[in-house]
């Protein structure tokens, strides 16, 4: 092999090159910072351990049906706590929210980076970031008082026009339209648009100018540049951003609690019917009157939603970091 030629004498060992903090002050400086950095791991571990310890009574008695079954009767003689509809509802709302938010977010990012002049783009960025800073209780208040009537209207229109599609189908018009996963999905979309936008904007704005100008010079139009140059190079970053938004959507609590009727009659995909689920909201809704056995059940629910969001977020930040090589030091 080529390596053998280079190292003629095997006795010559590689000199170990290392640099470390020289002074005592530096040693402490790096020690303190690395301890604080590792605190991130400690925090995650602590959360898992504490939640798991409190969730164990429920998890051991309910087994795997805690995730799949659909029944919640914690105060029976043999308590039954099965989270299925809530978990499915969280996913349903999360995906609805992402489907609604992604076009808005990508459009806003494209507008900010490629269409608006600089000062207007700065204003638009501020507006989007402001949307991210709105507390979820405020969004929930708006959702129940202002947005719900409008969204009910939209829901009725889409039911009339698209009722033949299963997701827009409604069995009983009296138990539909208000408090539906459709509205919850919109509320969640409002909350995750800024997250997806800011990741997408970052990726768009770091795009190689030469690539775009080259495509334009070759006769590309705006659309073909968008379709063939911008989207392929930034798609992985955008997917990462969308996953970040999904993670946020899955954990959303207060705002959904206001606009959704939580029900253990599982709602697979009828977006417009007035029953749905969300794990985080369920925890908050039940918490006030929880008995001891239900307390453990809610802890188990918290553990589940934590692990799900942690997995989604880890994947998302892994993808986003991979898609932004310029952010490596």
């Amino acid at each position: 092999m080529a390596n053998e030629q280079k190292t003629g004498s095997p006795e010559v060992s590689k000199r170990k090159l290392s640099s470390g903090p020289l002074s005592k002050g530096d040693k402490w400086f790096f020690r303190v910072t690395s301890i604080s950095a590792n605190f991130a791991f400690v925090l995650v571990a602590l959360i898992v351990v504490f939640l798991f310890a409190n969730a164990w009574p429920t998890l051991s008695s309910q087994g795997f049906s805690f995730l799949t079954g659909s029944n919640w009767n914690p105060d029976a003689k043999h308590p039954v706590m099965q989270l299925g509809p809530m978990l499915w509802g969280s996913l349903l709302i999360g995906f609805t929210g992402v489907l609604l938010a992604a076009p808005m977010a990508i459009s806003a990012a494209y507008l900010i980076v490629y269409l608006l002049p600089k000062p207007a783009a700065r204003v638009a960025t501020t507006i989007i970031d402001l949307l991210a800073a709105l507390p979820s209780v405020v969004i929930g208040l708006w959702g129940i008082a202002v947005f719900t009537p409008v969204a009910v209207n939209w829901a009725k229109i889409s039911n009339q026009l698209l009722g033949w599609i299963p997701i827009f189908h409604v069995k009983d018009p009296n138990a539909a339209f208000t408090d539906s996963p459709f509205i919850a999905g919109w509320i969640v979309a409002v909350m995750i648009v800024p997250i997806i936008t800011s990741v997408t904007r970052e990726i768009f704005s770091q795009m190689d100018d030469g690539l775009i100008n080259g495509a334009l010079a070759l006769g590309g139009s705006r659309f073909s540049v968008f379709r063939r140059v911008i989207m392929p190079t930034s798609s992985s970053g955008i997917i990462g951003g969308i996953l970040l938004g999904l993670g946020r959507a899955l954990g959303e609590t207060v705002a959904i609690l206001y606009v959704l009727q939580l029900s253990f009659k599982i709602n697979f995909f009828s977006l417009l019917e007035s029953r749905g689920g969300a794990v985080a909201s369920w925890i908050l809704a039940r918490f006030g009157e929880a008995s001891n056995s239900e307390f453990h059940g809610l802890m188990a629910a918290g553990l589940v939603i934590f692990l799900v969001t942690l997995a989604v977020n880890m994947l998302a930040s892994f993808i986003v970091n991979r898609a932004q090589p310029w952010r490596k030091n």
Binding site: P21, G25, D26, F29, V32, T33, S36, A37, N38, F39, A40, L43, L46, I47, F50, P103, M104, S107, Y110, L111, V113, L115, P117, K118, D129, L130, L131, A133, L134, P135, V137, I139, L141, W142, A145, N153, I157, V190, V193, S205, D209, I212, S221, R222, G247, G251, T253, V254, A280, L284, M299, G302, I305, F306, T309, N313, M314, A316, F318, N321
Partner: protein
């Protein structure tokens, strides 16, 4: 970059083009509005059923006339971009507008400083206010800040200054902590309270906000430390300064406004958190200045509790408190924005006049 058409003479548009563009972009909305007003059509139906198809058709026809298929796809791309962005803007303005409009009805000087000692769900708005909730929020968030900000900055230092191989993993974990569901943070502290038998107080609320604030501070501080040119640090090290002196005397002053931005954005992140506080504090109606003992009020839980009742005066209180919360967030966010703006102006190279 942000403006592809600048310095591109071939992209200059003529006056007739601009006129046609103006006509194409106004006619469909006028028709839609006419349908809504004269035809007594519902606004949403008018928007989706009348305006959208006509607008898409006119835009497509306009693009086709200009440059056949290329023009068509370009025109549609730009139209949908603007349409969806406008939707975002409308949603945001609707949130802000309704909170400001409804909140102002409840707002009065005494609403800001009085507490709710003798207030029930039906008490008229002339009595009581959110004074105790503002103080409670300030105390809780202050406690969180004392713990989260130094730790977050230390994390950011680790991520930018050290050469450790673990940085990538730490960054990923920190970022995924940023997506921690707020209710889980509350449950976590609740589990700790079960274990250690700590009573509910402002302190436990602050503890629940801590894991939510930490990643935000760490991320923003990391961004701002990264903006400091590495030459500065290298020069300091080359002059013989140890790393910690280089950090405290060179890098930290250079990144000062960024660090304050991190603090402010972290505050804005947690000041409106509701779920963790509902789980970990007992709400009360009177002023409590001791965060380590007894029930304590906060703005988000105030909104939450009054929204639960159906009486109009309670609803009004909820809107009023939401407006106060929004103002607090707005002040934090606005000052963070101004600080980071100044920073970016400073780091930009001064442009020389071309003439």
């Amino acid at each position: 970059m942000s403006n592809l058409t600048s310095r591109q003479p071939w992209a200059q548009s003529s006056a007739t083009f601009k006129l046609q563009l103006a006509i194409v972009s106004t006619i469909p909305s006028v028709i839609g509005l006419l349908f809504v007003i004269l035809g007594n059509l519902d606004f949403s139906i008018g928007l989706i059923g009348v305006f959208l198809p006509i607008q898409v058709l006119t835009v497509a026809a306009f693009g086709w006339r200009k440059a056949k298929r290329r023009g068509l796809s370009d025109a549609l791309l730009i139209f949908f971009t603007i349409f969806f962005s406008t939707l975002v803007l409308v949603l945001l303005l609707s949130v802000l507008g309704s909170v400001i409009f409804e909140g102002f009805k409840a707002l009065s000087p005494h609403f800001l400083y009085e507490n709710n000692r003798y207030v029930g769900t039906t008490t008229s708005l002339e009595y009581g206010g959110v004074g105790h909730a503002i103080l409670g929020t300030l105390l809780i968030v202050l406690l969180t800040t004392i713990a989260a900000v130094p730790l977050g900055i230390a994390m950011a230092v680790y991520l930018t200054q050290s050469q450790s191989k673990m940085r990538g993993v730490v960054r990923t974990v920190t970022q995924s902590l940023a997506g921690l569901p707020s209710v889980v943070a509350g449950l976590f502290v609740l589990a700790i309270m079960q274990f250690t038998h700590i009573e509910r107080s402002g302190f436990t609320g602050a503890l629940a906000l801590f894991p939510l604030m930490l990643p935000t501070v760490a991320r923003v501080a990391e961004e701002s430390l990264r903006l400091v040119p590495s030459d500065l640090r290298m020069a300091a090290l080359a002059l013989g300064a140890p790393n910690y002196k280089a950090f405290f005397q060179v890098i930290l002053p250079a990144a000062k406004s960024g660090i304050i931005t991190a603090l402010l954005l972290g505050l804005a992140r947690v000041v409106g958190e509701t779920a963790p506080l509902i789980l970990t504090i007992n709400m009360n109606n009177t002023t409590n200045l001791n965060p380590f003992n007894g029930p304590i009020a906060s703005l988000p839980t105030y909104v939450y509790s009054f929204l639960g009742s159906n009486y109009s005066s309670s609803q009004q209180r909820a809107w009023g408190a939401a407006l106060v919360l929004l103002i607090v967030v707005g002040i934090l966010f606005g000052s963070a924005r101004i600080l980071s703006r100044k920073k970016s102006l400073k780091t930009k190279p001064v442009k020389k006049a071309k003439k």
